[in-house]
């Protein structure tokens, strides 16, 4: 392929040649001839044998890259295929030259734009000897969740003067997944008043299988010997057993707003980023408490993961959250209407949304409250993100903030546990605020 430099030199040579003949100026013709020779020499022996200058038409050429790059291959290895946000992936790229000719190669391993190269380099200029291989190692930092793919590997070979070059894309791809970052939560203050493992509605604060101590009672036949409290037996002379508080095993529904407006703000600081991180943290907490967690994301469509428990469910939810894209503008009301028939009455519902550009928010949450659902809304404030990024001036911010406060008060008066989640606030603090602590 001709570079800009060779194209300009070529044009200059043609112009000089013609001008030389017109003006009968042999100096001009000589300069043109020297330039032509330069170009020809580079094309002929520059170890790249350009397709265009080899006299073959591109469509007749079986290998796009030409001879020079046909013997170059690449392989890639990642240290991990699944990481969390702000995690690092070490990449090892193995470049091989199968030919008997040494090559000067420019190699660029394509890395997704949002990632940062922490160590090493993904762009290398190297001299790769005949039948040699080399390893290129670098580390990328992954600050944002998502499905990512490394590759292809772009390889370029050019003559020493940079007049002609050949490029080839080695289609070596490695996919990996970046899960949302999780915050360790000690308590979410969210418990179902209607646990699900027993038939019928049974309030919690009842003895049952669980992990927390509830009370002591006398031993009855059939009680496990492991639950006998020997200290109490020593004091009272009667066999006493520990009773534990039944865990509030319940269905938790997390609704994540993934509409296009949720991505308002900088790429790394917007409502969707905060919502997915919160959803991941909450899922982990509830699943560790043996609750069943289901998740609903809505944007251009409503995607739900049915309630389930266990570490597999955590992986499924994290994967779904990693792939959540800000798209569409489905109203919350539509989501509520869709999921209402499928969730147990009284299940805690956690909504993660910036509450913007959705006229149905009040009505949708009122529907939940009307059916006695315990609704918690954590609303990452896009206003703050925009204001911090200096994309919103003070007046606009104040006006919008007032409107947002009014909306939040309105939702709060519906009985919704709501918190205006400011960017620097920890999730646990926001949750505590929402639950009135």
């Amino acid at each position: 392929m001709w570079s800009r430099k060779s194209a300009m030199l070529g044009s200059l040579a043609v112009a000089m040649y013609l001008l030389g003949l017109t003006l009968r100026n042999s100096q001009l013709v000589t300069i043109a001839v020297v330039i032509f020779v330069f170009l020809t020499w580079a094309a002929l022996f520059g170890s790249h044998a350009d397709v265009a200058s080899s006299g073959r038409r591109a469509e007749e050429w079986s290998g796009e890259e030409g001879v020079a790059l046909s013997n170059v291959s690449a392989m890639r290895k990642l240290s991990s295929a699944r990481i969390f946000e702000d995690g690092e992936v070490s990449v090892t790229l193995r470049m091989q030259n199968h030919s008997a000719l040494g090559k000067i190669l420019e190699v660029k391993d394509r890395v997704p734009e949002v990632m940062r190269i922490k160590d090493g380099a993904n762009y290398i200029l190297m001299e790769l000897g005949p039948r040699r291989e080399t390893f290129i190692e670098y580390t990328v930092e992954c600050p944002l969740r998502g499905f990512y793919s490394l590759g292809p590997v772009a390889v370029r070979v050019q003559d020493p003067f940079g007049l002609f070059h050949k490029e080839k894309e080695l289609h070596v791809y490695n996919d990996f997944l970046v899960f949302p970052k999780m915050e360790d939560l000690k308590d979410t203050f969210v418990k179902s008043r209607v646990p699900k493992i027993f038939t019928g509605a049974v309030n919690i604060r009842q003895p049952g299988p669980g992990s927390e101590f509830y009370s002591l009672r006398e031993y009855f036949d059939g009680d496990s010997f492991r639950s006998i409290n020997w200290s109490a037996y020593a004091k009272t002379g009667k066999l006493m057993v520990n009773e534990r508080e039944r865990d509030a095993v319940s269905d938790i529904i997390i609704i994540v707003d993934a509409r296009s407006v949720s991505e308002t703000g900088p790429v790394s600081r917007n409502a969707l980023v905060y919502s997915t991180r919160a959803a991941a943290s909450l899922t982990k907490f509830f699943l560790s408490r043996r609750d069943s967690v289901g998740i609903v994301t809505y944007g251009d469509e409503i995607v739900s993961i049915d309630r389930d428990s266990g570490s597999k469910q955590l992986y499924i939810i994290l994967t779904k959250l990693a792939g959540a894209m800000a798209r569409g503008n489905t109203p919350l009301k539509v989501v509520v209407n869709r999921i209402l028939p499928h969730i147990n009455r009284g299940s805690p519902i956690i909504v993660l949304s910036n509450l913007e550009d959705d006229p149905t928010v009040v009505s949708a949450l009122r529907d939940f409250r009307a059916r006695n659902f315990d609704v918690t809304v954590l609303s990452p404030s896009s206003l703050e993100f925009e204001f911090d990024a200096k994309r919103l001036d003070r007046t606009g911010y104040e006006v919008l903030k007032t409107e947002r406060d009014v909306l939040i008060s309105e939702l709060s008066s519906l009985g919704v546990n709501i918190m205006d989640w400011e960017p620097d606030m920890l999730l646990s603090t926001a949750l505590a605020g929402a639950r009135g602590f």
Binding site: Q27, V29, V33, F45, S99, F161, S412
Partner: protein, 304 residues
């Protein structure tokens, strides 16, 4: 704070349900009295100038170079040397007769002064461009050098200064012109190399690119800097010696025709050069048609 009661819907019967906050875009469009859209909210769009779009990109890279390393300094030194030689040769092989300024002014003295100024300007801007690694000055230098050679020459190579009697010997005259042409092309290449290697060096030092085996890469470039001018000069000599080579070839068949050819005005003029270049490039074109570069490359790639 949140009420813990059950059904609260009765509280809102008949109440107007408000929408959420309006979009900021809409608000920004409606706001007045000094509440314009913040400047940084509008993405910066760089529209290339007309010339840049013709050239397919920015003429001058926005990249700031770090101080020159040894390799770049050597190239700069080489460039200065070539510039001095080129300046002298340009002045010698491009007399003011036949230049644009001679045609405009009609005075050989004025034309001489202007021609000298053009050459000095070309050398100075070349120096400045190489020293400051500024492509704009280099471009100006290229243009001035080309401008100085644009002259109506009546097919004959004439010299403004002939201290060593080159004009009396056609072969020496040809060598002089070829050396001049090679030096000009070398200046193009070396000055371009200064910028290219400055960019590379900056990229290496800012860790944008990693270079393995720098010495080998640089030595290949140095080797090419020596080999290519020799090849180009030799081939140009062949082309320019058409008036000698062609009669010599024809003399195999007819001595008389060969003598007539060698004395022919056309063959010793620029048209002879054109004919020579036509022959040479016909051969080169033939090599390309036979796909020699690919065959050569395949052979080199696959040999044991």
């Amino acid at each position: 704070m949140a009420t813990k009661s059950g059904d609260t819907s009765h509280l809102y019967d008949g109440k107007t349900v408000r929408s959420a906050a309006p979009s900021r875009k809409k608000l920004a469009g409606q706001m007045s009295a000094g509440s314009d859209i913040p400047k940084d909210a509008v993405p910066t769009v760089e529209i290339p100038s007309f010339i840049e779009s013709l050239l397919g990109g920015p003429l001058v890279p926005k990249m700031k170079f770090l101080p020159a390393d040894k390799m770049v300094q050597n190239l700069q030194l080489g460039c200065y040397g070539v510039l001095i030689g080129l300046g002298i040769l340009t002045y010698i092989v491009t007399p003011a007769v036949g230049t644009i300024w001679f045609a405009i002014t009609g005075s050989i003295t004025i034309a001489n002064i202007i021609q000298l100024m053009v050459v000095i300007g070309a050398v100075s801007s070349g120096f400045w461009g190489v020293m400051g690694r500024d492509a704009r000055y280099l471009l100006a230098s290229y243009v001035l050098f080309i401008l100085s050679v644009l002259r109506f020459a009546s097919s004959k190579v004439s010299l403004s200064q002939d201290l060593f009697g080159f004009a009396d010997n056609d072969f020496l005259l040809t060598i002089l012109v070829v050396v001049y042409a090679v030096l000009l092309v070398m200046f193009f290449e070396l000055s371009n190399g200064v910028l290219r290697f400055s960019m590379l060096d900056t990229s290496i030092r800012t860790r944008e690119v990693y270079v393995m085996n720098v010495k080998k890469i640089v030595s290949r470039y140095h080797r090419s800097l020596i080999i290519n001018p020799i090849i180009a000069g030799s081939l140009a000599m062949v082309v320019l010696s058409a008036n000698t080579i062609l009669p010599a070839f024809v003399s195999l068949f007819s001595e008389q025709t060969a003598v007539r050819m060698s004395e022919s005005v056309e063959l010793i003029s620029v048209y002879g050069v054109a004919l020579g270049s036509l022959f040479v490039f016909l051969i080169v074109g033939g090599l390309f048609l036979l796909d020699m570069p690919t065959h050569l490359q395949s052979w080199r790639e696959n040999k044991d």
